[in-house]
Amino acid sequence: MKKIVWLFMLIFLAGCNITVLQPKSETASEQAFLINFSFWLMMIVVVTVFTLFIRFVYKYRFTEKRKDDLPEDVKGNRKLEITWIVLPILLLIVLAVPTIAITYEQSAKAPQDRKKNGVHIDVIGKQFSWTFQYENGKKEMNRLVIPEGEPIIFHLTSEDVIHSFWAPKLGGKVDVMPGKEITYEIKKPEKGSYQGKCAEYCGLAHANMTFKTKVVAKEDYQEYLIQESQ
């Protein structure tokens, strides 16, 4: 049992530098908050169960002395049972509130107005590469460049099977569907270079379907747009 507790300490300590818990955008920060929040709420449950478990297993274990003991015939206990029906419900309500708030705002939506304020980028997934098309028509493969601090609105479609667009530090993933456009917004990315990958199994070279993301200053972004694509 100690081993498991120790492992939980490990996840906590390791949490200091885990990719998705070091978010680099507002979107990813909200998600990291939910992950941490739900983790600690759930630790309450884990600690309660483990404590009772260890206590009961130790205290009521078979010993030579208790060889002939006949346990009392207990059918149940209404008060106790109501307790562990009501308390988890309360705990889940606490969890549900921020969940609903953030989910409502972040969920990928059906195609949005392209005039909405922000940088609009078309993302086209295809076995096994990514194409990014910018507002002025510039296209580049497997390399995404976006300006810092702006809302970035991705319009995602696939040319063949389902893929999933994921840059862990910038936000959660969103599926890239054939024949249907989905939009997903990443708010206020911070400067830096980040990994991106396909997260939905899409065939032979799924593991190699990666891209690089670069978040640059706004001026550098404007300059990037007018450069000839390499």
């Binding site: 009521y60 969940t99 969920s107």
Partner: protein, 598 residues
Amino acid sequence: MIWKYLRTMNHRRIGIMYILFGIIYFFRAGLDALFIRAQLAIPNNDFWVFQGEKYNEVFTTHGTLMIFFVAMPLLLGLMNIAVPLQIGARDLAFPFLNALGFWLFFAGSLFFNIAFFINMTPEVGWTGYTPLSRAEYTPGAGTEFYVFGLQISGLGTIFTALNLIVTIMRHRAPGMKYTRMPLFAWATLITSFLILIAFTVLAIALYLLMFDRLFGTGFFSGEEGDPIFWQHLFWIFGHPEVYILALPAFGIFSDIIATFSRKRIFGYPVMVVSITLIGFLGFMVWSHHMFTVGLGPMANTFFAITTMAIAVPTGIKVFNWLFTMRGGVIHFTTPMLFALGFIPSFVMGGVTGVMLSVSAADFQFHDTHFVVAHFHYVIIASTILGVFAGLYYWYPKITGYILDEKLGKWHFWTFLIGFHLTFFPMHITGLEGMPRRVYTYTQADGIFLLNAASTVGAFLMGISMLFAVWNVYITHKKGEKVGNDPWNGRTLEWTEASPAPEHTFEPMPIVDEIDAFWFAKIENRSLATTLAVRIKPLEQETIQPFFIAMALLVICTGLTFTWYWLTIAGAVLLFSLLIVRSFTDERESFYGKEDPYE
């Protein structure tokens, strides 16, 4: 002996065959897991052939086998053996259907496994997402083996579920009211209803996919169709399936924890209600597998809430198990150790389940190793530990021998430690950004040590299974028979001989309370019996179920390779067999040629 088993309709023999094949496939699928872990042990690895195509084949096979051809038959096997004995039924209600159900499972699993030997293993993942599983993207016969393998065995599973429902409703011992039924029987009843609905949906999904692949229809793509339809259908099956795997295990643990705490289960009515509630809610959460496909904020919120709700009845069960032990005298036998290992492990899988239900957070978790960790935690902790517990517990009823306790404990500890060592690090690799179903990662990802730990754990689990094999060998070599009641049990199966005889419950015990056998024992009396009972379901040795299943196998082979002459031949064979069956009347041997009621 093989000839006898081929023709048997006896519930214990059919159960043994289910378990036997479940274990054979467990070893194959386990070996696949070891290949996966060997390839992922170090960054940029080139282990044997397991990159790209072969890796994709191996994880598809691992998932499909483990769910459909390992977990399902092992549970159905235990249900087949234990449930009739627990409720005082003298066999399943429809012995012919039971044999047919098994042989259909066998035919389906055989069909799926053949693919490997002719190098046509499917590589679409066990979820078979369209459009990847449509003929444009996976041409060749590989995916057909997935479609038809599951279709045939799924049909068998539906038959067996029907059979179990009727058996539990109609063949209980006198006095065995629903309120006195052991919890494994209750779990089996609810599970059977879930199977009936869920597997029917799967059958429809596979049927449509078959049309898309073979005849170019457009259910899952094009103008009218949509790949999302497949995901909906698959998960309307797939999520209840999780509870189909977990609920029977909950039942097994409930009986085992009560037996070895020497105490009745705490809060029996609430336990029954929570099984039912889990089963019911299980149908309302399927879209939590689809948070990232763009269903919109409304759907993402709704399914987050229903998913959280399911944690409540599950939590109730955990606390009731804990309080069953409180005040008891806990005997650390091997079955009990597996039950004790289950509680903390399952709670760890359960809480990550709640974390996953937080839909915006799931955008990060989805399709990463975090999810892999979560579902292995819940399925291994419940189903696999449950099956091991059940096998050690009922082994005397199955074979007449009791498995060695010392080796059993070695098996338990190595398996449990290996299990946590394998899957715990995956929570972190997932959060580090490692997606599922990738065959490689780089040094720069910083997940080498965690993956290496997983690999070590996986091999430890592999080694633990050698203890189990050795245990079975030793036990049978020793060949010491045990009595009716080696565990000091509480329910009716322990009133019967070990192994359970062909003709059980003669005379039939009368049940006057829950755990009647136990309370009779402590009051030093024997259970009242009666001879005025329903007659045993009639059974006869026949090879028909085997041939019916094989005829379906022939039909599907024909369809797979578009050899339509073979399909027609198989169909003719199938219909002839059905006609022969319609004119077979087992009652003749009992009542004589003439129907006495005419």
